[in-house]
């Protein structure tokens, strides 16, 4: 028999107090992380040395060409990527198209190849002069002009859509899987044809996912940097993301104008998030639960080869061609379409590894950033997720809302805000070190970790924790002995994903790096600007190898978790 509760122990404020302390501490951290750069963008856009001014904003609104380009790329990419992702989701989740599970894995790969590398590869394939497709067309068909020109608005939109289609695919296929097939079956039983049931039941139920993914893509493409930098800048086609980069890299740097652009992007995305919330509020569905159903497979008959063709075409354009081009360019002595001139060796790899001075520094920085970002987000995210799911207080709602906010902040705007907040801040000298990049990465990717870990905690029956408390474990003991081990599979998968994502981040890195704090994606971009295509390809191929190795590890761990 253990000791009875003593009077002294009885006077201790109990778990609720500790919970509140944890919630308040986390709220403070998240508020500093997310809100400070946002405020800084506001301050930056409205102020210069002379005080309050609206010149930056009027300048921005006056540059109608860039505004138009940004809107074209934003809307075009959103429509194309959401349509493509939704189509792929319906084909791979709801029809009897062959090789579905394998294709599903391939369709997700562009997420890991990154928009930057996809754009680089397509630039080699489709630039008006010197693009491989055009060179081949000229030598084979004797054309004098160019067949395709991806250095254009259309090129930017197409390549960005190819790169971002996996996001809507993920969300919409998740929604389709989470839908009880009985809902559609009951529509059929009550007289609806397959298409009518799909149109009147399935589509409206998938609408939140559709809207959500459209919004996500729109926010991403509105502040897009990599694709327009690679495909647009050579043709002097500027969008907000590249414009911010240009303004900051002109001499003297036009910081407040850049902040004006950042503010505009923020206002637009905030308005859209509010609009989405308003639309979804009026139709709240509980039909899509966390439960996974076995979706009803529609027999498409003679349409099977057509649907298979659509998916294969996407995989070809978004995965096979870019990766093959990168590998080829990494191995060939120089870019040419004449087979007689081609020879293959590893000299570009040797150059990148041993001669190019930035590689090792960038690799080390990227590695450190990846490890730290993933670890910090997992720790912070798990604690936040636990507070959000388990407590009823204001702090929980605050954490949920502010923690998810970075999803609606284009990373280049976040970087702008951080730049504004921390340049010249003497008591926290993180600018010029990887510290400021770490802050950017942790803030930008926090929602990914938070979402994954929240759903993991939500799946834990609260009584598992209650049972531990009643059995004598303290709050922290319960987190350590029960919550941590039970969310371990999600933690490992989330950690690896975050590690990969941080290795690839470019949109905020490009504004925040300095010579000693350069990272891999910036090194790739530098090689692009220097025109050193073969070295770029070699570096990219190495980056892809690391990424896919990490992915293979996750896949193995998932299999083990399922088997256990």
């Amino acid at each position: 028999m253990s000791a009875p509760p003593s009077q002294k122990a009885g006077r201790l404020r109990r778990g609720v107090g500790q919970e509140r302390l944890l919630a308040v501490a986390l709220s403070a951290i998240v508020a500093l992380m997310v809100l400070v750069p946002l405020v800084a963008v506001f301050v930056g856009a409205f102020g210069d040395e002379d005080g309050f001014t609206v010149t930056a904003l009027t300048d921005v609104l006056a540059s109608s060409r860039v505004l138009g380009n940004t809107l074209t790329v934003g809307l075009g990419t959103t429509i194309l990527a959401t349509g493509l992702g939704g189509l792929l989701a319906v084909i791979l989740v709801r029809t009897d198209t062959p090789w579905r599970s394998g294709l599903e894995q391939l369709v997700l790969l562009p997420l890991y190849i990154t928009p930057l590398l996809t754009a680089v590869a397509w630039s080699w394939l489709g630039s008006p002069r010197g693009g491989l497709i055009n060179l081949l067309a000229q030598s084979a068909l004797g054309l004098s002009g160019s067949l395709v020109n991806l250095h254009s608005a259309g090129g930017v939109v197409t390549v960005a859509a190819l790169a971002y289609a996996p996001l809507p695919f993920l969300l919409i296929s998740g929604a389709l899987r989470g839908m009880d097939p009985a809902l559609e079956e009951s529509a059929r039983v009550h007289g609806a044809s397959i298409t009518a049931a799909f149109r009147r039941v399935t589509m409206p139920l998938a609408l939140p996912a559709l809207l959500g993914s459209a919004l996500l893509v729109f926010v991403q493409s509105l502040g897009l940097f990599s694709v327009p930098a690679v495909l647009g800048m050579p043709a002097s086609f500027y969008v907000a993301g590249t414009e911010i980069y240009r303004l900051l890299n002109s001499y003297p740097a036009r910081v407040s104008q850049a902040a004006g652009w950042g503010l505009l992007l923020l206002v637009v995305t905030a308005a859209l998030v509010a609009l989405q919330a308003a639309i979804l509020k009026r139709r709240s569905y509980v039909t899509i639960t966390g439960k996974a159903f076995r979706p009803r497979i529609v027999q498409v008959g003679r349409w099977r080869p057509v649907l298979l063709g659509i998916v294969l075409l996407y995989v070809l354009a978004a995965v096979v061609l870019p990766v093959a081009t990168l590998c080829w360019a990494a191995l060939v002595n120089f870019i040419t379409v004449d087979p007689k001139l081609m020879s293959f060796d590893l000299r570009h790899f040797a150059y990148v590894l041993f001669t190019y001075p930035k590689t090792l520094l960038a690799a080390r920085n990227s590695l450190v950033l990846g490890l730290l970002t993933a670890t910090i987000i997992c720790a912070l995210g798990l604690a936040m997720a636990w507070v959000i799911v388990r407590s009823r207080g204001m702090a929980a709602r605050f954490l949920d809302q502010v923690g998810m906010m970075p999803l609606a902040i284009p990373p280049i705007v976040l970087a702008l805000g951080l730049l504004w907040s921390y340049v010249g801040l003497s008591w926290l000298p993180i600018y010029g070190t990887i510290g400021i990049l770490l802050l950017a990465y942790v803030t930008h990717y926090l929602p990914f970790g938070l979402r994954a870990l929240s759903s993991a905690v939500r799946q834990l029956h609260p009584e598992l924790e209650d049972a531990a408390r009643v059995s004598g474990a303290s709050l922290l003991g319960t987190l350590r002995r029960i919550v941590l081990p039970l969310t371990r599979p999600t933690l490992v998968a989330t950690w690896t994903l975050l590690f990969i994502l941080s290795l690839q981040e470019i949109s905020s890195s490009i504004l925040l790096y300095t010579a000693p704090s350069t990272v891999l994606s910036v090194a790739v971009f530098d090689l692009w600007e220097a025109g050193n295509v073969n070295a770029l390809a070699a570096l990219s191929v190495m980056q892809l190898l690391v990424t896919f190795a990490a992915l293979a590890v996750v896949a193995r761990l998932r299999q083990k978790a399922v088997a256990a």
């Binding site: 009077q7 109990r14 209650d466 049972a467 408390r469």
Partner: protein
């Protein structure tokens, strides 16, 4: 009466303006079992969780073994781990990342007890619930009934004097529930712990407890020994909840002991609360106490037309209608109970309860 081992005094638990538990008081004598009985949402589980320290009350007092675990006015609120009790959860709450043995050993482990010390106690608890041979199994590879036993073993292994049980049998199928009910009674008799039990099942409550507290809307509706509550439900709510299906509104006649039904039938019955104000007087009797005949017989009663007659096995449920009143009788199945027949019903005065609210 011996002093209470647990006493709950004027407990109030509120979420915003909603009072989930409103001034609830009861005590548990050492070694006895008290059951909180009521429909879902009546506050019974919330009360139990407050005793465990898993809900934070707004006001009131909870004393366990003479020491305050919660005291609203003194600002005392001991965390669950300091209250020295154990609990069986509705979901069993078996930790899936541990073996059966480790689940049961957990209360020892968190208190830093060495394996050599805890092993005999854990082994003994597993033997008590007949799971010794599953000790090294991952806890997830057990059936529902077995998980339930692990939860029981974990609750009794450490030897806390107070065990809380939150609808422990509700997730089991009917047959297993009966079996586990008997095992639970045995276990408590053998180990002698004090128990607070929550259920919505009256049979479970009556068969296992020394004292039953019927709750409704966060308040105590009636409390007493099982036989007493069964025989004398004091309100319409308790009567309904305990399966008294015939509750007929009526007028009180002759100052007490006699009522008049809307169809003018006069019935005598027992007054449950003679002095209380007659807010909504009704006469109540169980369908099983009603007898049916083809002819008017001796004793009190009336006649009615059979509107529905359901054969459910051991008994026939016969529904009668007589003018504005309808009633139900459970009788042995026989010919002559068909719909449309006119039958005469009788009920003994000692089986009739006169309710005043």
């Amino acid at each position: 009466m011996s002093p209470a081992f647990v006493s709950v005094e004027d407990l109030v638990i509120a979420y915003g303006d909603v009072r989930a538990v409103d001034k609830v008081s009861f005590g548990i004598v050492a070694g006895e079992q008290v059951t909180l009985l009521g429909p879902s949402g009546c506050g019974k589980t919330t009360t139990l969780r407050a005793v465990a320290g898993l809900e934070r009350p707004r006001d009131g007092r909870i004393l366990i073994d003479g020491k305050p675990a919660f005291d609203g006015s003194a600002g005392i609120d001991a965390p669950p781990e300091k209250r020295n009790l154990s609990m069986v959860f509705q979901s069993y709450a078996i930790w899936p990342h541990m073996t059966v043995f480790e689940n049961v050993a957990f209360p020892f482990r968190v208190r830093g007890r060495p394996t050599a010390e805890l092993k005999p106690a854990v082994d003994k608890a597993l033997e008590l619930v007949d799971l010794a041979r599953f000790a090294d199994r991952p806890a997830t590879m057990l059936s529902g009934g077995q998980q339930q036993r692990v939860a029981l073993a974990r609750a009794v292994a450490f030897g806390t004097k107070l065990v809380l049980l939150d609808e422990p049998l509700s997730n089991l199928d009917a047959q297993l529930r009966l079996q586990m009910r008997d095992e639970l009674a045995d276990l408590r008799k053998r180990l002698g712990f004090t128990a607070l039990y929550v259920t919505h099942d009256q049979e479970e409550a009556f068969s296992l407890s020394d004292f039953v507290v019927v709750m409704r809307g966060g308040r105590i509706e009636q409390a007493g020994r099982p036989q007493e509550i069964y025989r004398n439900p004091r309100t319409r709510f308790v009567a309904e909840f305990l399966g008294v299906r015939n509750i007929l509104p009526c007028e009180l006649a002759h100052g007490g002991g006699e009522v008049r039904l809307p169809d003018q039938t006069v019935l005598r019955g027992r007054e449950v609360e003679p002095g209380a104000p007659a807010e909504a007087p009704a006469i109540a009797f169980r369908p099983g106490d009603v007898r049916l005949g083809d002819q008017p017989g001796p004793g009190q009663g009336g006649s009615g037309v059979v509107t529905r007659s359901l054969f459910v096995g051991d008994v026939q449920h016969v529904f009668l209608k007589s003018g504005p009143i309808g009633l139900c009788a459970h009788v042995r199945p026989r010919p002559g109970l068909e719909e449309g027949k006119t039958l005469f019903w009788r009920v003994a005065p000692e089986d009739c309860l006169i309710l005043r609210k």
